[in-house]
Amino acid sequence: MTVLLDVPASTDLVKNSRRLIRLRWLAGLALLTVTLINEYALGVNMPARALYSLGAAILVYNSLLWWVSRAVGTSWSQPIATGQVVLDTLALVFSVHLTGGVESLATHFFLFYVLLAPILLPGRTGYLYVWLVIAAVVGVIGLEAGGVLPHYRVRPSLPPDLHRDPLYIAAKLSFFITVALVTASLTIPIVREFREREQRITTLYQSIRTLSSSLDLTQVLNQLACAVTQALQAKGTSIRLVDETGAQLKIAAAYGLSKEYLDKGPVETESSPIDRSVLSGHPVIVHDVSQDGRFQYPSEILAEGIHSVLCVPLMGRRGPLGVLRVYGHRPDCFGEEETNFVQAIARQGATAIENALAFDELRRTDQVKSQFVRAVTHELRSPVTGAQSLLRPMMRNLAGDLNEAQCEVLRRLSDRLDALQMLIDDLLDLAAGKVEGLERELEPVSLITAARNVVDRLSGLAGEKSVDLCMAHVPRSIAVVASEEGLERILLNLIGNAVKYTPAGGRVDVRLQRRDGEAVIRVTDTGIGIPDADLPHLFEEFFRARNAKKAGIVGTGLGLAIVKNLVERYKGRISVQSTLDKGTTFTIVLPLAD
């Protein structure tokens, strides 16, 4: 199971790092300025050269930090922040020493760092830092008191050996240590909670994105279980969905749990009071598994290392879908905040589950529909073709000689059957076309090959009618996203119509080209044309233009409806231009397969 949460380096770390670098310019300059003022204006006795060097050093390492933080990526932001804290702490220690040690006012600046440390340093190192600072201060003061380090008497108004006075030292130190520890114990938990909250919001956001990005139910649920576990730093999460009978909860996804635990057995809602309560909409927290008698498999739970459980319902629009359980390593892992967070995610999860289930249902229905269409194809055609096959030999007198009246009746019978067969073929085309989408994957198909096949097929008919059928294309290859059969059906209907409605001596032109990232198909004929009043209805099912019917040309009125349906499926457009008795041009535009 891949770690799906890629929590980026906390943006406040980067921001605060930058702020500190900007402040440090001021700090360095201030140190230099104050030393200058003290040396020349106030005549204070201080180790000016050392202080100037310190000020300069601060400015130097700040420039380095400034340059480095610009040059490297965010993965270095933690080392840079830690580096700043270390360098500044050293600088502070020096400045405390150089400005009088225990008498120095600079010790106050350490408190600023005790506040900053939890924000800049990772995890629990905040506490460690406080103790280091205390040790450093104690160290400087102690070494000065013991004479190991020189003492700089910066404030002449104070007694000369004050830095050796145990009472003074004790008072100063105890105050400093108390303040430092109290400050740390307040800020460190606050910052930590802040971070956790931010982490949770990020998880929630990412979960929502993940959940709405996929209709594959199993994948979505597994990612959800992983995300919840990581956000709460729990042991694991399981998602169980209610089965068809409503009496059992079956595992749909899990993270962080062993196979043995998941296989332990079905959860009967009857015998699980916790699940019954959860399925009615109320989340349940079990603070200590070993002391709760409600579990169905208590020993397995403890063997897995689970000590507390948070159960949250997955509520669909029409009722409960299942239960999401988060497991904790220790007792009392979960409180109100965790419950609210998990419930928020569960709500998104329920929506995703319902969408995935609906899509599955849709796919299944479509499969049933297309199977039905295929069965009907055979069943409907067979009696009609059987009847036609019988009529034809009979009309040739092969069942005995016929008189004129009998011939006429049979001819009409045969025509009606032909019309019925065409209608069935077209209806089934239309139905199959509408089902095609979900069932058949669209892929790049060569438009030129399809057109050539269709033109070949129709060349016989065109020849019989003395209609000129020509095809022209400019680029050598044009590929569109469609299905091979669908594309040929479009061309067959359009070019077939053109030939059908063009009288002898006429011409049908098929032109294929690429334009502005699209494929353009143009079929032009010199046929009977379409009356203006009929143009808006042309693509309606069963519609036939009045002049087509008058000319006695046979048709079902479905051909163009089928074409329009397919063109729309392939995300294209179709348009028509026509002049009565002069001719018609159909233009289809389809997106290229690039």
């Binding site: 055979h378 040739r396 059906r489």
Partner: protein, 133 residues
């Protein structure tokens, strides 16, 4: 004037074929399924076989054609593997199956789509009989 065996489960289609073929002077035998068809094959020793692509099951016609063209060595069918086969199809372009006389996959000489036109049928039959000689 040739002996033609029709293997077809639709009796109306059999009558239609009989009318056209007898009208052209041929002798027609028929069987309603593959099993009886093979029996009739041995009895009548026809010069041409007309086979429907779909009978009881969607693949019965295919399977029969394959059997006839690729008989097990030593089986009596081996004697008849040279007889030309005309296959009747009832296809709609929206189904997935497409046909062509493919040497390996579907070894038949020719196809005819339903409904059967008497002239088309007779001329195809004559063509196949002529080729066989």
């Amino acid at each position: 004037m040739a002996k033609i065996l029709v293997i077809e489960d639709d009796p109306d289609m059999v009558l239609a074929l009989r009318m056209s073929l007898e009208g052209a002077g041929h002798e027609v035998f028929d069987a309603p399924n593959g099993k009886e068809g093979l029996q009739k094959l041995a009895e009548t020793k026809p010069e041409l076989i007309i086979l429907d692509v779909m009978m009881d099951t969607t693949t019965e016609g295919f399977q029969l054609a394959f059997q006839l063209r690729n008989p097990d060595p030593g089986s009596p069918l081996a004697d008849y593997s040279h007889i030309p086969i005309l296959m009747l199809t009832a296809l709609h372009s929206t189904t997935d199956l497409r046909f062509g006389a493919d040497e390996d996959y579907l070894p038949v000489e020719a196809f005819l789509d339903k409904p059967i036109d008497p002239d088309d049928l007779v001329s195809k039959v004559d063509e196949l009989l002529a080729k066989a000689h």
